[in-house]
Symmetry: C2
């Protein structure tokens, strides 16, 4: 007889809409009469091996709806990246608790975990259905038009640059804003969606998809400052030299590495400060300011895309439907079907797991420091409704009297 037990967990960096996916899973699973229990694991895979489960069948649908609108992972998350032995532990716990459906909301590392757990269950002949539900502000999952979480983070970045541009226009100088994204520049590129007038910033955009040369960067800033009397720059934290070494690594002395062996890029203002110092000392410009958007860009409460909210909810819902009505494991993907509409499909886990998407060439301008209209068209509908707009005074110059 079937246990009717479902487990859901959240992994990796939180997003503003990751709880929509969680609640999509819980409410949809609770609609199926064969489902008796919906468990949530606290802090992702770490909570699974520790058997730290909460019973979401005993949560009101009203509170679930309110949690859905709250940013960051309500179940808690983890940076653990399980190897096969770790995944075997996960499988043993799932088996012990008679879990029949496992939903893991996360990025490409999480999809790889789902893939291995799926294999372990298959080897053991245990009837487990495992589905990966996509989320990442980096938009770097292969096979999806875009990933839930990205549109809201992109909206934050666009609004931040729209404001920073206005600030910089009022008190001219150089402004450098550093945006998250180790390998993929999608989030940094969103800065361009804050532009309205032709002379608005960001005037320069540096993506990890292109090699960063300090000398060229300084020449670019100098030229833009000469042209506009000011310069707003968007920089990805993942910018690197021709050898692939992060620009930050060239300068920071004590580098922190995360559990995946990567250099810690976020949670420090070092890159912005360094670039500002270069501009100040090499170009002799005054009023050079750097901001690092840091954790605000992924967790700020009250700046989300309604399109992102509804899609994040739907990937959770669809995951349950794919699990209940379908016959295979997989990763839920968003497919664009109109301008603007989407549908969902279930991709084989091996197609998504551990792979990284970066910005396609046709999204990046020839000069490497701007984005194309194709990218503008791609991103705009994702930002959702009610995007704030910036307006200017029109200039009716008054003739001078003292020094005409």
């Amino acid at each position: 007889m079937s246990s009717g037990k479902v487990l859901v967990a959240q992994g990796g960096g939180p997003t503003a809409v990751i709880n929509q996916s969680l609640v999509g899973v819980v409410l949809e699973a609770r609609r199926f009469r064969e489902v008796r229990r919906v468990y949530g694991a606290r802090h992702g895979v770490r909570g699974i091996v520790g058997e730290d489960f909460v019973d979401l069948t005993q949560e009101t649908s009203h509170n679930l709806e309110l949690v859905a609108g709250t940013p960051s992972s309500a179940l808690g998350s983890t940076r653990d990246k399980p190897d096969r032995a770790y995944c075997h532990e996960i499988f043993k716990v799932l088996q012990a608790h008679e879990i029949e459906h496992f939903f893991y909301i996360g990025g490409n590392d999480s999809s790889d975990t789902v893939r291995i757990v799926s294999e372990e269950a298959h080897k053991a002949g245990y009837p487990l259905r495992t589905i990966h539900i996509p989320k990442t502000i980096d938009n770097d999952l292969v096979g999806s038009d875009h990933t839930p979480g990205y549109p809201s983070a992109a909206r934050f970045v666009a609004q931040a640059f729209a404001g920073a541009n206005l600030d910089n226009a009022a008190l001219p100088g150089v402004y450098v804003g550093v945006v998250m994204g180790r390998h993929a520049g999608f989030l940094t590129a969103a800065s361009a969606l804050g532009k309205k007038f032709p002379d608005d910033g960001p005037h320069l955009i540096y993506l990890p998809e292109r090699v960063f040369e300090l000398e060229r960067f300084l020449a670019d800033v100098k030229a833009m400052h000469a042209k506009h009397g000011r310069c707003v720059v968007a920089v990805s934290e993942g910018i690197h030299d021709a050898s692939g070494q992060p620009i930050l690594a060239q300068l920071a002395k004590d580098l922190e590495h995360d559990a995946h062996g990567n250099v810690q890029l976020s949670g420090s203002g070092a890159l912005a400060d360094l670039l500002c110092e270069e501009i100040r000392s090499k170009l002799g410009l005054k009023r050079v300011r750097g901001d690092t958007f840091g954790y605000l860009q992924r967790s700020f409460i009250g700046c989300t895309s309604d399109v992102d909210q509804r899609e994040a909810r739907e990937v959770g819902e669809k995951a349950v439907q794919f699990a209940m009505w379908g016959d295979r494991d997989g990763s839920v993907a968003i497919k664009r079907t109109g301008f603007y509409s989407v549908d969902y499909e279930l991709l084989p886990l091996a197609m998504v797991a551990g792979k990284t998407r970066t910005m396609e060439d046709h999204f990046i301008a020839e000069n490497g420091t701007d984005i194309t209209d194709a990218f503008r068209l791609y991103l705009r509908p994702l930002l959702g409704s009610g995007m704030p707009d910036a307006f200017r005074l029109r200039t009716h110059q008054v003739p001078k009297v003292l020094r005409p």
Copy 2:
């Protein structure tokens, strides 16, 4: 015969609602039949001495309304702090253009400029009415219940910490958020308004009104981390030691000074990075992250308080009414008359000019690292309607099977 000419300008750091005050002046002035021209000076006092005026009488009221809702100074701003000679230049230009009413929107430095220009006009026997219109995200003007611009920045800071707290709860560690405010801790204190549940962060708040001791800071963080398994800290950029030296100055090698002779505190992530490094090295804690809210907290588009919007508009309107119906120069102040309602009064310029308000003692908790309910009651109505709220899953723990 009267020229009927009015001049308005914006000075100092931009705010999210400073254009409401500008538009309040312009639209209200245009209602008076004796007013023939409303000029705006580009980039504050600098634009006045350069006779860089735009004619706002030729701007549509529709576009003015749209500009009113746009953050940052639409006329441009300046960091120039005029001395008497500079103010004399300002007066000469006002005289040459037959300006009869001068409105300057700015902080305490700007109010001092207004005071000197007023004196210059008086000495010369020139009939000039000068009014200072308050704005500052620091909330440090003497004589006002609060200043326009502060509520919207406070709302940004509260929302940022509400989100950062959720992020930190999902991936536990230490999070340090650095907030603007050289002498006044009002904006940093707003971080506490992002708290909802008793164990929510910020768990520690460091204000410039209290002496900062590194050893005590580290002990506080250690204790909070032991208690909650994580720790969210709000720090004012203006924290200083017992001698008044900024903590940042103790560490940064190349200090930039602004035109007022102050050490440049904003536009760098140095303070957050330094504090994080101290926590990492001295307490041996992992996952220590620092964010500096930087320019986002004053210029982010799409995060404003509706109460702030309407009050910023009214101080502009009232400034014109005080100038037209009154008989003296002054500084417009907000007076709280109910929970929640306000009225406006005109204070003598000498009462406001060049003075700095800091947080009153009854707003700061005994231990120096928290705020009081009195402050919570003071700030909450200013944040306006539609504040986003954070919700949690309730815990229904599932019994363990493998390791009960």
